[in-house]
């Protein structure tokens, strides 16, 4: 098949390209240029730095496949960075990597397969997809510790039918072995954990640089409504946060609620962080068919799945869960199969 491989410069997508090439497919590699600083400088952290693109280019040269850099910085700014800023400014906790997958990587690249004369898109995600007659299903990756099906939970038949995840069939050590065996320069490259456009600093610094208007001072209150301090802007807080609250109290205090309308940050005890369920928005279904009833739900990238019951746009957990922030993604599973995903719009106490 003619495959377009999204190469970030990491070991996983390098091996994805190598496996496709090895299997005899006609492979083209691309790296997305997503972000540059105010003076055009490239990011130095995360999954899309200059040296990462350089690694991708060198791996492509070694595999002897055509390789191109595609500039999606405008789409990334509009679809991911601006959204990141407005989400924090309105008291939510966004996941920009999922937003990038949704609005840039899969959407744009799948739309452009024809431009490259390619039939399928290939990424280096740790997830598995299976063709079952007419439909495609998505499953957790072979390496459960590295599983990335959570960040792919918003994919639908449109994307799954035209995307392959060859690396998801391997464990991470196997991936590194393949890379080492082929002499790929990325074989021992460490994983990136940072948000690419924020880098290694605190995301609050990024927000105050890029959205100073998002910082309106307001009150810090307790759950009874008593004002116990002041803050410089709700964008600097996230649900469950314990440090940097600027309030000295005896027992441990956490951010339990952020109220955008009044620019208020509510502190409470560990118990106050617990919620019975969440309200959902932008619900998608891998199969295209809405589900209800009991599922397992995962609401953090590497969180444990928990039992919950789906009822329309409400998800009620079997047991109360702690520190859930609106804006985060929740993925629904049946066993290791992804059923779908949604954004958390609100919490239900």
């Amino acid at each position: 098949m003619k495959a377009l491989v999204a190469m970030s410069g990491g070991v996983d997508s390098s091996v994805a390209a190598a496996l496709m090439k090895d299997a005899g497919h006609d492979v083209v590699g691309v790296t997305l240029k997503l972000w540059s600083g105010p003076n055009g400088e490239a990011p130095t952290a995360g999954c899309c730095t200059v040296s990462d693109a350089e690694d991708a280019r060198r791996v492509a040269a070694q595999l002897d496949i055509p390789y191109y850099v595609l500039d999606y910085s405008e789409e990334f700014k509009g679809g991911v960075v601006d959204r990141f800023v407005t989400d924090y400014a309105s008291g939510r906790t966004p996941n920009p990597c999922i937003e990038c997958n949704r609005t840039v990587k899969f959407d744009r690249l799948l739309n452009r397969l024809d431009d490259f004369g390619s039939e399928i898109l290939v990424t280096g995600h740790h997830a598995r997809s299976r063709e079952n007659g007419e439909t495609w299903s998505l499953h957790r990756g072979e390496d459960v510790a590295k599983d990335q099906s959570y960040v792919l939970s918003m994919l639908t038949q449109r994307e799954l039918s035209r995307t392959r995840f060859p690396v998801g069939e391997l464990t991470k050590p196997q991936v590194r072995n393949v890379a080492a065996g082929m002499g790929l320069r990325t074989a021992r490259k460490p994983e990136s954990m940072d948000i690419c456009f924020v880098g290694q600093r605190d995301y609050r610094g990024f927000l105050s640089d890029h959205a100073p208007g998002a910082f309106h001072p307001g009150d810090v209150v307790d759950t009874a409504g008593n004002t116990i301090g002041e803050h410089e802007g709700i964008a600097g807080f996230t649900i469950g946060q314990r440090r940097g609250l600027g309030v000295a109290v005896g027992e441990p205090r956490f951010v339990v609620r952020i109220e955008e309308a009044t620019s208020t940050v509510v502190l409470g005890s560990r118990d106050d962080l617990e919620v019975a369920g969440v309200g959902l928005e932008q619900v998608t279904w891998t199969s295209g068919i809405a589900r209800s009833g009991w599922v397992t739900a995962q609401y953090r990238a590497h969180g444990e799945p928990v039992g919950a019951t789906l009822d329309g746009n409400r998800l009620v957990f079997d047991e109360r869960q702690s520190a859930i922030a609106p804006g985060q993604t929740v993925a629904f599973y049946e066993g290791d199969m992804v059923l779908g995903g949604a954004l958390i719009a609100s919490t239900i106490s």
Binding site: V28, K33, A42, V50, A53, R57, P66, Y68, V69, L70, D71, R112, D115, F116, G117
Partner: protein, 380 residues
Amino acid sequence: MRDLIYLDHAATTPMRPGVWEAMAPHAIDSFGNSSGIHGVSRRAKNALEEARERIAEILGCGPMEVVFTSGGTESDNLALTGAVFSGSDRTGVVVSATEHEAVLETADFLGRRGSVVDTVGVDRAGRIEASAVVASLTPSTAVVSIMLVNNETGVVNDVAAMSHAVKGTDPDVLVHADAVQAFGSMKFDVGQLGVDMLSLTAHKFGGPKGAGLLYVREGTALEPLIHGGGQELGRRSGTHDVPGAVGLATAMELAAADRDRFVGEVGTIRDSFEEHLTRAFPDAVVNTPDPDRSPHHLNIRFPGVRNEPLLMRLDRSGVAASAGSACQSGAATVSHVLEAMGRSPAEARESVRFSFGWTSSREESNRAARIVVDLVEDLR
């Protein structure tokens, strides 16, 4: 890989036969440092000065007016920065909006260091008007930089008219011409152009990469960029690249001798390629003006077809072309040249540069035209 059809000669062109052979002895047998006092060095020095004389003969200048550099970018940097830092009261810079990045970014750097930078616009054909250049002059203008042939569109500017107009207005303003794209197709000498400085680089006309020159008129005050052992009359320190200088001189002679054929044959090949495309796509817009065009550039827009996928598909079909402008990461960016010519960013993103060279043949050009037509039809 199918047979490569190389239509990116404005980016770089293969070495002409004989150049490498002329260079090799100076890398191995007469390897000396041209600044030394012994025989090996003298032989290197002799080869270097011989190359300088051969070049001076072609440019119509004195040998001591030829400053060897690492290429066009260094030459452009030296011309502008050297003039501004030369110690006179004049620090202003005038450039055209369509100059190469080597000039524009140097002007920007000088602007950040306190120079007043004036950027002269161009007409829709990309031509720089002499009157606009003159109108930008102020009593503090140190240097004017204009290009002879634009690297993206191939528009030819009347540098002689501009330098005479500038000198007629203010004889103390230095005039620099970026002639990097011009040498292979235009016969000129520096006296006729009336410029004080002129940049060339060998790899654009069949010489080695990393070897270039800046012509500097005798008596021109210029602060060097690279300080050290005082080579090149102190204008450019550093151990000489003798093989590079020999390769530059040899390529200049070969290109000059081949120029009439180049202008005729390559020009005809480009014209028939252009005709093939405009006949297939009557709505195609040719950004390369006519007249005032070089014989080997063709910048053309296919409405509704973005250049990025077209160039990639061309690459995969064995045709090497470009958008005329690429950043370090290799991602296509919007051409500042086409923007200066009044094209919208969307129009610039639909424009592609094909550039022909001394190896181009009618057969491969016809084959390339058919591939372009197929791909444009497919992408529409």
